[in-house]
């Protein structure tokens, strides 16, 4: 078999401080605001209360009310104003309190921000980072948990970033804020405090479009992003006890997409499971499988498999554990896939 893939491009070591993902985000916002006075944070409840998840805690005290701003409760106003601020030379980091609420600003996000550079043919760039939590597992009311990344990746002109670790939350958020184009930075609800790990000190950037091996394995490849990387790792550990070596490829960013590493993984393992929390029809797992079919079809030893939500609206709390993929469902899919003979 081919050599072990890179263990990780994450240089965090045990000497680095251990942080939750939300602390890493808070630290990164602080560092970027200190570095560049054009960076400003605004949204619903981000200033006085420090955000409903405390991601922006302490920023108001440090940077003042011009740069950390509680906005009227209107998502389109938050993103529409961000476009104008960016045209005026600011570096906006607006927060949409929950991704499901972005439906109320989709005309500004998809119709305006994503195409501003294009429609002005390079006159105005939109260095906007839209931070927003998403994903299930925490028993929220309606529309707080929807995974809409497939819809976002279908909007040309947006970058879609999905950190799975605290270190990546820092490295990718730093990169997002410095990127000259609009980025939707998706933060997993369950990951805010449920994901902890070493975070490199000082300046730390993770380039977009470079996937990361969360764990290596040559029998099967599990492709995941955001919190489902954590879930896939649990499945991989359980599979390892049964003698199955599953590699988990964390995409880190969906746009741009690391096609090379996906293709390499399929060529090496021949079997692939793609995990997403979203509605499967027209979703991003479908895009990955289409990509595999285009570039690595002849390396497949079995049809690629999706483990996803279902073609239903995101359900209420008592049904969500069935809807959201868990380690057992991933493990089940992997074992079934390994049974398939070419």
């Amino acid at each position: 078999m081919s050599p072990e893939p890179a263990r990780s491009t994450n240089p965090a070591s045990t000497a680095d401080p251990t942080m939750t993902m939300v602390s890493a985000i808070n630290d990164t916002l602080r560092a970027e605001m200190a570095r560049d006075e054009r960076v400003m944070v605004f949204g619903e409840d981000v200033a006085l209360s420090g955000g409903v998840f405390r991601a922006t805690e302490g920023l108001l005290e440090q940077f003042g009310e011009d740069r950390v701003v509680d906005m009227p409760l209107a998502e389109a106003a938050i993103l529409g104003a961000a476009a104008g601020l960016a045209a005026g030379g600011m570096v906006p980091v607006p927060e949409i309190q929950f991704l499901g609420f972005s439906y109320q600003a989709m005309h500004q996000l998809a119709g305006q921000i994503a195409r501003f550079r294009y429609r002005t043919w390079g006159r105005f760039e939109m260095p906007i980072t839209i931070r927003t939590p998403f994903g299930g597992g925490v028993r929220t009311p309606e529309l707080h948990s929807d995974s809409l990344e497939g819809q976002l990746t279908n909007i040309a002109g947006l970058k879609v970033v999905t950190p799975a670790t605290a270190a990546d939350a820092k490295g990718l958020l730093t990169e997002a804020i410095r990127d000259p184009d609009p980025v939707v930075f998706l933060e997993p609800l369950r990951g805010y405090r449920g994901v902890k790990g070493p975070v490199p000190r000082g300046e730390y950037r993770v380039p977009f479009g470079k996937a990361r091996w969360a764990t290596a394995g040559n029998d099967v490849t599990i492709i995941a992003w955001s919190y489902q990387v954590e879930v896939a790792l649990r499945a991989a550990r359980s599979l390892a006890e049964q003698g199955v070596e599953a590699g988990v490829l964390d995409l880190r960013t969906l746009v741009p997409l690391d096609v090379e590493q996906i293709v390499e993984a399929v060529e090496r393992t021949g079997r692939v499971v793609v995990v997403e929390e979203a509605v499967p029809t027209g979703g991003f797992a479908a895009e990955i499988i289409a990509t595999i079919n285009e570039h690595a079809f002849w390396s497949l030893e079995a049809p690629p498999v999706r483990v996803s939500g279902y073609d239903t609206p995101y359900p209420v709390g008592q049904l969500e554990d069935t809807y959201v993929p868990d380690a057992r469902r991933i493990e089940h899919a992997v074992l079934a896939l390994l049974e398939v003979q070419p």
Partner: protein, 322 residues
């Protein structure tokens, strides 16, 4: 102002003809809104102030230089350079997604305030746009932030075929300012002097830190909504004829002539200059080169790997270099 109003009408008529000849796509004429557009922008300082148009005004934004009409001709032709108004022209390209630009204006004005830059932002929108959520969100936000923005509602009586009576039950569009905590003013949008006066006052408020103003300029759409529209299907008989009595190109000319400021020669000169302006714009726009692979330009600062591959594939398919 008179010259620019004449230029706007002539340019509009020329583009209308070009559409009828099949040389450009759908176009929205300016007839009846010249005084509102010109009167308001003549109250601005192009060195510091910004204009965010909807989609008719660019025909008469000569206050901000001849490039605006050149780019608008390219825009009408479907050339991507049409959306690019070169720096430092403080004008945005036309907006199709109605009312979204009102929020952009608030954000831009906010950036001026935060950066301590002098200037105001004037944004045009129509009576129909005032029904969009973005109008209310923008007015509300501008009131809260006290930013230097001027909301200019060009009330031409019609949102395509829908009359203002179907847009609002409010006494006026300006009345909506009360809910935003900002002043609202109604002005005769067929009178460029009157428009100039209220916009000047709003600009003074804006640049002295007093915040936003909502202005409703009441004019009348003297032509179809666009080249694709047939207003004889819905405009009540006689209404258009009555409105033509208020045509700013006629009434303002009369005013100027009465004061000895205008005559037949000046009119002829202005018409020649207007025709030359749209001729120049058209010649410039039609001479712009365009490769089909430019499709991929300016989506991002740098293309993604996927876009590069798609571009290479497209170039190979088209048999061009890249």
């Amino acid at each position: 102002m008179m010259c620019e109003m004449i230029k706007g009408r002539i340019a509009s008529d020329r583009l209308w003809s070009l559409q009828r000849q099949g040389q450009i796509g759908t176009i929205a004429p300016i007839d009846g809104q010249e005084a509102t557009t010109v009167g308001s922008t003549w109250a601005l300082d192009p060195a510091v102030d910004w204009v965010i148009p909807q989609y008719r005004e660019s025909l008469a934004l000569g206050r901000f230089g001849p490039d605006v009409l050149d780019r608008f001709a390219a825009w009408a032709l479907g050339h991507p350079e049409g959306g690019h108004l070169p720096d430092p022209i403080r004008v945005f390209p036309p907006q199709i997604s109605l009312a979204t630009q009102i929020l952009h204006a608030v954000g831009l004005a906010w950036s001026l305030k935060l950066r301590g830059i002098a200037g105001a932002v004037l944004v045009f929108f129509g009576d129909g746009s005032s029904s969009e959520g973005d109008f209310y969100e923008a007015g509300n936000l501008a009131g809260v932030l006290e930013v230097p923005v001027i909301f200019l509602c060009s009330n031409n009586g019609w949102a395509i075929s829908t009359p203002t009576s179907r847009q609002t039950a409010a006494a006026s569009f300006a009345a909506k300012a009360e809910a935003f905590g900002i002043p609202g003013v109604t002005v005769d949008g067929m009178d460029p002097i009157a428009v100039h006066e209220v916009v000047s006052a709003a600009r003074d408020r804006a640049v002295t830190g007093k915040g936003a103003t909502l202005i409703e300029a009441v004019n009348y759409r003297l032509n179809a909504h666009t080249t694709a529209d047939d207003p004889t299907r819905y405009v009540p008989a006689g209404e258009l004829e009555a409105a033509k009595e208020r045509d700013p190109l006629v009434t303002f000319r009369r005013q100027l002539e009465a004061r000895g400021l205008w005559d037949r020669d000046r009119q002829a000169d202005a018409e020649r200059a207007g025709a030359a302006a749209i001729d120049n714009a058209w010649n410039w726009a039609t001479a712009l080169p365009l490769e089909q692979t430019a499709l991929f330009d300016h989506v991002f600062a740098a293309p993604t790997q996927r876009q590069r591959r798609q571009r290479t594939d497209l170039a190979a398919y088209l048999g061009v270099e890249r």
